[in-house]
């Protein structure tokens, strides 16, 4: 053990600089907290150990939310992507989502540069061995080289590094992702401090050299021609895009897997952690869905300055020599040269019900955890949590109020509420079906949902806030105008309506009503009753969506209102569940563990039934009445 030395005092220390760590550090610094980032390897900031892609349904909306709260992920994607596509364009606005393919190296470089240039932020390479905790409160950290950093708050964002182990065939070795150093001392320290962990597993496919792929046997998957961006601030768009390619597994692929299943750690009887169902290995796909004759394989470039290609869909932990044969069995990859093998990685994840909705641990005041460490998967889920943990750690350090997003505020709110209320038994991925108010949580309105609240807590700049106010005013004014101004029947109006096969107008009608017709666009109505000044595309988009889906939006808002009533019924933090008679044992156990903050949260917990919630409600109200009468 080297000699210890005092290395400095900070408001907030972030351990790890992956996708959770960088957003945590940036958020904390934006809030004005003096922030230190400690990472094992400064060259690995915002590294993507798995697919070179960010976004997609639900996840892409998280990126927009991060951007609306002043985070970096969206801006960095906009500068470093090699392809971008809007998904679900043929469906309704609520489920549209952007997805980008990234240049992994450029992404890292750009993110590192942002960290380096950020005020209040110190970036330092170092490996944290221990947390310094006194009286259940965090005081700082101790690194491998003996440096002691003091801090009011600490955020652990160590991803899959905690006691990480890589599995390939019957080979198992201690390692972080992509053969980086694992965190073993810190993992042991967290457990010694009383945090309970669970063993999770995830995997990644092999990579191959692009020059050895026969693309003629695959289908091209280009990016959108229309310029796309994640950030509301982006004004320059990348036009030079690289395509992805689609191929399929062949009967031989399935044969090889079936013949060699016993060599896969998941099927050889080896004890392995719980893996995600939504991102199964190719072994899992073929075993669980053996009636399917083929599975899709996407070939995704890892960057502009490399020939390395990610073989999406072929995630595996079979021995390397089998992986060679697997790759060769796929049309287009017959002669492909593998650059890195696929592998599974097992790691310690914190049982997330030990966290408060601020992502602070219930056990140790001032200690926060975020990202894959909390049992999630995905860069976006990690970044979203990082931002929230960073904002809350800074708020605590600076004596400000905590910052919690509800399930109706954003996918980030859904994600964190699920984690701290329900916990997760497998690596957690956001899905649109997890959001009960997804019509409100759209890709297009993240700024309208979050700028106000983000500005209030100090995450959003004045400039950005002013822009938001202006946009909101324009939307409101235009909606009002459409409600006020009448379209009168005329040959011109009918001609415009005929463009989209809409029926001719018989009676005068407000613009709002006319725009409600599914086939009528704002552009058409705008030509009948022109606005004084031309509106931007994003304002028009909001006006159209609000008009067309008003009924559905209203319905969702009513649901939110009902939920909020229950959300406002707070459960006292010092409540003694053992003292309440009548609550079922199972519910009591769960309530004691999770310690929900509100009646609404309690009612979402598995194992807590409506009768238990009623009794809880009575008990709490009883306390209130008692206080009043005393």
């Amino acid at each position: 053990m080297p000699n210890k030395y005092e290395a400095g005092t900070f408001d907030c220390i972030v351990i790890g600089a992956g996708h959770a760590g960088v957003e945590a550090a940036l958020a904390s610094a934006r809030m004005g907290a003096n922030t230190l980032v400690l990472t094992l390897n400064i060259d690995m900031i915002a590294f993507m150990p798995c697919n070179p892609s960010i976004g997609g349904p639900a996840k892409g909306i998280v990126v927009r939310e991060i951007d609306a709260l002043g985070g970096a992920m969206g801006k960095v994607i906009d500068k470093t992507h090699i392809q971008m596509r809007m998904l679900n364009t043929r469906k309704g606005p609520a489920v549209r989502a952007l997805r980008a393919q990234l240049d992994k190296v450029l992404y890292q470089q750009e993110m590192k540069r942002i960290l380096e240039e950020t005020e209040n932020l110190t970036l330092h390479q170092g490996s944290v061995d221990e947390l310094i905790v006194e009286d259940d409160e965090i005081k700082g950290v101790l690194t491998q080289v003996g440096a002691i950093y003091r801090a009011k708050t600490v955020i652990v964002t160590t991803g899959t590094f905690l006691r990480g182990e890589i599995l390939i065939g019957d080979l198992r070795y201690s390692s972080g992702p992509n053969n980086q150093m694992p965190s073993i001392n810190l993992a042991n320290n967290l457990r010694a401090l009383g945090l309970e962990t669970v063993r999770f597993k995830t995997g990644t496919p092999p990579r191959v050299n692009s020059r050895t792929i026969d693309y003629s046997k695959t289908e091209i998957q280009p990016g959108d021609e229309e310029p796309r961006a994640f950030s509301y601030e982006t004004t320059e768009f990348i036009t030079d895009q690289l395509p992805c390619w689609l191929t399929y597994t062949a009967p031989l692929t399935h044969e090889i897997i079936n013949d060699n299943l016993r060599l896969s750690p998941m099927y050889s009887g080896e004890e392995v952690g719980t893996g995600p169902r939504y991102c199964p290995s190719i072994e899992d796909k073929i075993v669980r869905f053996n009636d399917k004759s083929r599975h899709q394989i996407f070939l995704e470039p890892e960057g502009r300055n490399t020939e390395e290609v990610y073989v999406q869909g072929l995630s595996t932990s079979l021995p390397e020599h089998i992986q060679h044969r697997l790759i060769a069995s796929v049309p287009g990859l017959e002669n492909a040269r593998m650059m890195r093998p696929g592998y599974a990685i097992e790691y310690d994840a914190i049982i997330s019900t030990q966290l408060k909705p601020t992502l602070e641990t219930k056990k140790i005041r001032g200690l926060y955890t975020a990202g894959q460490l909390n049992g999630t998967s995905g860069y976006e889920e990690a970044a979203g949590q990082g931002l929230m943990a960073g904002a809350n750690a800074a708020a605590r350090a600076l004596g400000k109020e905590e910052f919690i997003l509800g399930r109706s505020d954003g996918y980030i709110g859904v994600l964190i509420d699920d984690l701290v209320t329900k916990g997760t038994s497998e690596p957690y991925r956001l899905l649109t079906s997890r959001a009960e108010y997804r019509l409100l949580l759209r890709h297009d309105n993240a700024d309208l949902r979050l700028t106000e609240i983000g500005h209030e807590v100090g995450l959003v700049s004045e400039e950005r806030y002013a822009k938001y106010l202006a946009k909101k005013e324009q939307i409101d004014a235009e909606l009002q105008r459409l409600r006020d101004v009448t379209v009168k029947p005329s040959p011109l109006v009918d001609e415009i309506l005929a463009e989209t096969n809409s029926t001719a107008l018989k009676e005068p009608m407000k613009g709002f009503g006319l725009l409600k017709r599914p086939e009528v666009t704002y552009n058409q109505v705008g030509r009948m009753i022109p606005a004084e000044e031309e509106l931007t595309a994003d304002v028009i988009e909001q006006v159209e969506i609000f008009t067309k889906y008003e009924g559905y939006i209203e319905k969702s808002l009513q649901q939110v209102e009902r939920m909020k009533k229950m959300e406002n019924k707070k459960i006292p933090e010092d409540i003694d569940y053992d003292a309440i008679t009548g609550i079922a044992m199972e519910a009591k156990t769960a309530l004691k563990e999770v310690r929900p903050l509100s009646i609404a949260q309690a009612s979402r917990m598995p194992g807590v039934n409506p009768a238990d919630v009623s009794i809880l409600l009575v008990y709490i109200e009883q306390g209130k009445i008692a206080k009043v009468t005393n």
Binding site: K91, V95, K285, Q312, L431, P606, A611, I615, L617
Partner: protein
């Protein structure tokens, strides 16, 4: 404090000439106004608090008159719950009171949980603290035991049917979700609007069928159809009168049937009995001769319970044997009446023929044995031996309310789908319908959908 509006029957079921259905909550008055029509067209909303009003309840959808009622209007805060309260006084008896309740539930009230009015009174500060323990007990309290057992028998079937509908919906939902969350996943068929309409239409038809069984239902709504048979002069009328007197029957003429068929409803220890075709028994006392008549056979065939009356003072006759044959295989209680006279019947023989059916001896003249008969009826019913062939699945007002609710939601979805709303929006309604149906069987966990997703599809990117 803001709560949704709850409704419940506040008087004991099936007894008494008047029953009260009570509404409490923010929308109590609005909901009542939607169904209440006074002869002079007044709106309860505009009336003074603590007043009583005469009128009719009319189903706003079918325009059918449901009941003739007196409505007490009590506005907050001087009410039992300190919320707006409306009490509807209607005719007592299962049919009337359940129809009133079902109507209110259809119009947006929620069926109160046991003890919920009291709970609200407490939460709103109306009841003092010393009563809080009792409130806890009330919340935990089970519904009336008899009711529970009765429901338990039927809920198995209902759960199964509702489960099938939910499965159909969730498969549709999972498919839409996959299309959304994995837009490039091509092994799954795109769930299109025509698909969605097809599924929703099917589910709606099935719900309608279920609701129809509730409308024509027997148990709780109409009672267990019960036929008293026996040779002339064995005491069938006495038995009927005895059951009726004991249990304060309400004579009701059922709309749509001929006037001469009078049915008597009695509540025997929580078992609702509908004494069928009793007019016939009264008029002619000749049901034995009419056994051969097709119509009477029909009556027997449709019965859930047969009370076969024998004469204690006479030996079994050939007619008695024919009656035994006619009711073979049906749920029967043998009533050997006239024990006040000397025994001539061979009780052992009767018991041998009766097999599993219970045999009760009575002297209706001296009012003996009626209690034993009631016990026999009650135990037969609650031990689950009665299985009428079309025993109603849906009899519980809460279930009826939820089914109507689900049907309305699916109708919304269908209208939306047909007017070009995108499939993922229509899905929002379908998901809600799935959840509402789940409330019937006590399962609304969102996780169910996610599990379906992963078990139904092999997902990648």
């Amino acid at each position: 404090m803001n709560f949704d509006t709850i409704a419940a029957i506040s008087t004991p079921m099936g007894e008494g000439a008047i029953a009260i259905v009570r509404l409490s909550g923010d929308e109590a008055v609005q909901i009542a106004d939607r169904v209440f029509h006074s002869p002079n067209g007044k709106q309860l909303m505009e009336e003074k608090s603590h007043t009583i009003h005469y009128g009719h309840l009319i189903d706003p959808r079918s325009k059918e008159t449901v009941e003739e009622v007196m409505v007490s209007l009590m506005k907050a805060p001087k009410t039992f719950t300190r919320e707006d309260v409306v009490e509807i006084n209607c005719h007592g008896g299962l049919v009337a009171v359940n129809r009133v309740l079902a109507l209110l539930l259809k119009e947006g009230a929620r069926l109160a949980e046991p003890g919920e009015f009291t709970k609200r009174a407490f939460l709103n500060g109306r009841i003092d603290l010393s009563q809080s323990e009792a409130v806890m007990d009330l919340i935990r309290a089970k519904t009336d035991r008899a009711m529970n057992v009765a429901l338990g028998q039927m809920e198995g079937k209902l759960s199964k049917l509702v489960g099938e509908l939910r499965q159909a919906l969730i498969e549709t939902l999972a498919q839409v979700e996959v299309n959304i969350d994995y837009p490039e996943y091509e092994d799954v068929e795109e769930m299109t609007i025509p698909h969605m309409i097809e599924k929703c239409t099917w589910v709606n038809k099935e719900i309608e069928k279920l609701l129809k069984t509730s409308a024509q239902g027997k148990i709780l709504r109409e009672g267990l159809s019960t036929v008293i048979i026996g040779r002339p002069n064995v005491g069938k009328s006495s038995l009927l009168n005895s059951l009726v007197q004991e249990n304060k029957a309400i004579v009701t003429d059922i709309a749509g049937t001929t006037r001469d068929i009078i049915e008597e409803y009695v509540n025997v220890r929580g078992v609702p009995l509908r004494l069928v075709d009793t007019a016939g028994i009264r008029e002619t006392e000749d049901i034995v001769e009419r056994i051969g008549v097709e119509r009477s056979r029909q009556v027997l065939k449709e019965a859930d319970l047969i009370l076969l009356v024998l004469n204690y003072a006479e030996a079994l006759t050939e007619e008695d044997h024919r009656l035994f044959e006619a009711i073979e295989g049906m749920d029967t209680i043998i009533v050997v009446n006239k024990t006040d006279l000397p025994a001539k019947i061979d009780l052992d023989e009767v018991k041998a023929i009766a097999g599993n059916s219970s045999v009760v001896t009575t002297s209706l003249l001296e009012e003996e044995g009626v209690i034993e008969l009631e016990e026999a009826i009650s135990s037969l019913f609650f031990s689950g031996t009665i299985e009428a062939e079309d025993m109603t699945y849906v009899s519980n007002a809460r279930h009826i309310g939820l089914l109507h609710n689900a049907k309305d939601i699916i109708n919304d979805a269908l209208i939306a789908a047909e007017s070009g709303v995108p499939v993922d929006m229509v899905q929002i309604d379908v998901t809600r319908a799935w959840e509402v149906l789940g409330e019937i069987v006590g399962d609304t966990v969102q996780e169910g959908l996610i599990n379906q997703l992963f078990s139904q599809f092999c997902l990648g990117k």
